[in-house]
């Protein structure tokens, strides 16, 4: 066997596990990396090394952090008193892209699902309840998916929060959306959440 072939096979197998990649595209990506050794392969390996060493979950909110506590939790220009609860970091990033929310976050890391063996302890829910008291929170915004599991999780949390305002994101017609293309559920939700002009 040629030297290094096993390492290559391992690398391809790992790459193929990435979202959006399969064995074929993983082979292509690895060949490309080898070809661009200086510009890509070595810098990528270094970057991964650093991320692997430093990046972990924020102990406070579950966001991605370059230390124990993430930038958002450390940022004192952000308002205390409002916590936005999201399923995962991708949702947090989506919220941040809109630049509308100036409070803090809490990343659950999933939704309650008995069938998938995901319980409250797996979701940092006890930690959220602690934060609501210790950070003098006045409003908890539940920004969870409009699925049964998302709704169940939202109600599970809301049920246990007393003395704070609990809200959830409105569901309905997307900006720039045409009614004709919406499903019945979305239209029903939008109609329920209608407001006076």
């Amino acid at each position: 066997m040629v030297d290094g072939t096993d390492d290559l096979t391992d690398l391809i197998a790992l790459m193929a596990k990435l979202p959006g990649l399969g064995p074929r595209s993983a082979r292509r990506a690895v060949l490309h990396l080898i070809k661009k050794r200086g510009q890509l392969l070595v810098p990528l390996a270094d970057a991964m090394q650093r991320v692997g060493a430093n990046v972990r979950e924020c102990l406070n909110c579950g966001n991605i952090a370059a230390g124990d506590i993430c930038n958002i939790c450390n940022d004192d220009r952000r308002a205390n008193g409002e916590i936005c609860v999201v399923e995962d970091v991708a949702d947090l990033w989506a919220m941040e892209r809109s630049q509308q929310f100036k409070g803090r976050y809490h990343v659950l890391g999933g939704t309650l699902s008995a069938l998938d063996a995901v319980g409250p302890e797996d979701l940092r829910i006890p930690r959220l309840l602690d934060r609501v008291t210790s950070e003098n929170v006045t409003e908890v915004i539940l920004a969870l998916g409009a699925t049964i599991d998302g709704h169940t999780t939202a109600h599970y949390i809301a049920d246990q929060l007393t003395g704070v305002t609990v809200t959830s994101l409105a569901q309905g017609v997307p900006v720039g959306g045409e009614l004709d293309y919406l499903d019945d559920g979305t239209i029903t939700a939008a109609l329920r959440a209608r407001r006076a002009l």
Partner: protein, 367 residues
């Protein structure tokens, strides 16, 4: 005539059909041919143009033609009122069923918005005698024809209930978790109950003063417990039933346990105590009432799939059935082993002959 109809049906590697193509107009379709030729398979293909597992409740892997097992496809052109739609449904080998409506991938439940399909199959001959599950399924199929969103509500109820059942099995004691799930079950469950109740009312109304040769069935819904209905009552009942459900390891009360009761009105006899032919007549009566009610609601009849409907009917009842179907203007797909069974239909119908040759079904137009 702008009734709902399938104008073209093409099957590829579906059950016994390697390749079949059928062109049809609005008239009822009489399909004849020997046992095992592939007639019911054709009806099953049409039933898969609606949400769910079709008239045999088969899994995607049962539908693929063996021994090749290459994956199967159904292509259909459907006309509903002034609109035409192209539906493609099928599954690759080992995968679940997908649906495309007018070139766009959609969920199965979206099909309920396009066409209504109702069926009677020989397996339902014992519907009034056997367990409540079959009657519930029959009722839900009717309900789906009136309320396209019914499938969605039923799925939401079912998902939340399966979650709760898992908690019960695992003996989880977190009251907040139960309450959150019971809230979802109550919301979706109340919608399921309301949809079904409206359906029973519509079926009863459509049987009143109807010019039909088939007997009136007086229907009633039987909810479990103390007739628990509505979101608040359901939520309360779920919470109150936790201890009992924990012992059983599953949810014992709710719309998943509802039963449908029928009485042969003229005789005052329970459907389950009626003769075989009378029981069949009650089912036909309900299907026809359903079609009449849909015409009143949407202005067009549903597609009917009547597998071996002639089997328990005498010649006079058979002729009456064809007359009523023609009067409704419904595209009814009917099967029988002999062409003679459809004699009374005459040229008001279109005919397909199905035979088996070289291990595959062959379908051809016949006169």
């Amino acid at each position: 005539m702008t009734g709902l109809r399938v104008t073209r049906l093409q099957l590829s590697h579906f059950r016994s059909h390697k390749r079949a193509e059928v062109a049809a107009d609005t008239r009822p379709i009489a399909i004849f041919g020997p046992n095992g030729a592939g007639k019911t398979n054709l009806l099953e293909a049409v039933s898969l143009l609606s949400p769910g597992r079709g008239l045999r409740r088969a899994g995607a892997e049962d539908l693929v033609r063996r021994p090749e097992a290459l994956g199967w496809r159904i292509f259909a052109d459907v006309t509903a009122g002034r609109q035409t739609h192209e539906i493609v449904t099928g599954a690759e080998a080992g995968q679940s069923r997908s649906v495309q409506l007018d070139g766009k991938t959609v969920t199965q439940t979206a099909l309920a918005n396009v066409l209504r399909v109702l069926w009677l199959v020989p397996a339902m001959d014992r519907l009034w005698i056997e367990g409540a599950e079959g009657r519930r399924r029959f009722l839900d199929r009717a309900t789906l024809s009136f309320v396209p969103g019914h499938a969605e509500a039923a799925l939401r109820y079912d998902k939340a209930m399966r979650e709760r059942n898992r908690l019960l099995k695992d003996m989880v004691r977190d009251a907040h978790w139960y309450a959150a799930l019971e809230g979802r079950m109550a919301e979706a469950g109340a919608q399921v109950q309301a949809n079904r109740a409206a359906t029973v009312a519509a079926l009863m109304a459509a049987q009143q003063d109807a010019a039909t040769a088939f007997p009136t069935a007086t229907l009633s819904l039987i909810e479990g417990g103390d007739d628990v209905q509505g979101a608040d009552a359901l939520k309360e009942a779920f919470a109150a039933g936790r201890a009992r459900d924990l012992a059983a390891g599953r949810t014992l009360l709710g719309p998943h346990r509802t039963d449908l009761d029928a009485v042969f009105a003229d005789k005052g006899t329970l459907a389950r105590d009626c003769s075989t032919g009378e029981q069949k007549a009650l089912l036909i009566s309900l299907i026809l009432a359903n079609a009449r009610a849909l015409i009143a609601q949407d202005g067009q009849p549903p597609i009917l799939l009547l597998d071996e409907v002639a089997a328990h009917l005498d010649a006079a009842r058979r002729a009456a059935l064809y007359d009523e179907i023609c009067a409704l203007g419904a595209q009814a797909w009917m099967t029988g082993t002999e062409a003679q069974l459809f004699e009374a239909l005459g040229d008001r119908g279109q005919y397909l002959q199905v035979t088996e040759a070289d291990g595959a079904s062959a379908v051809e137009g016949a006169l």
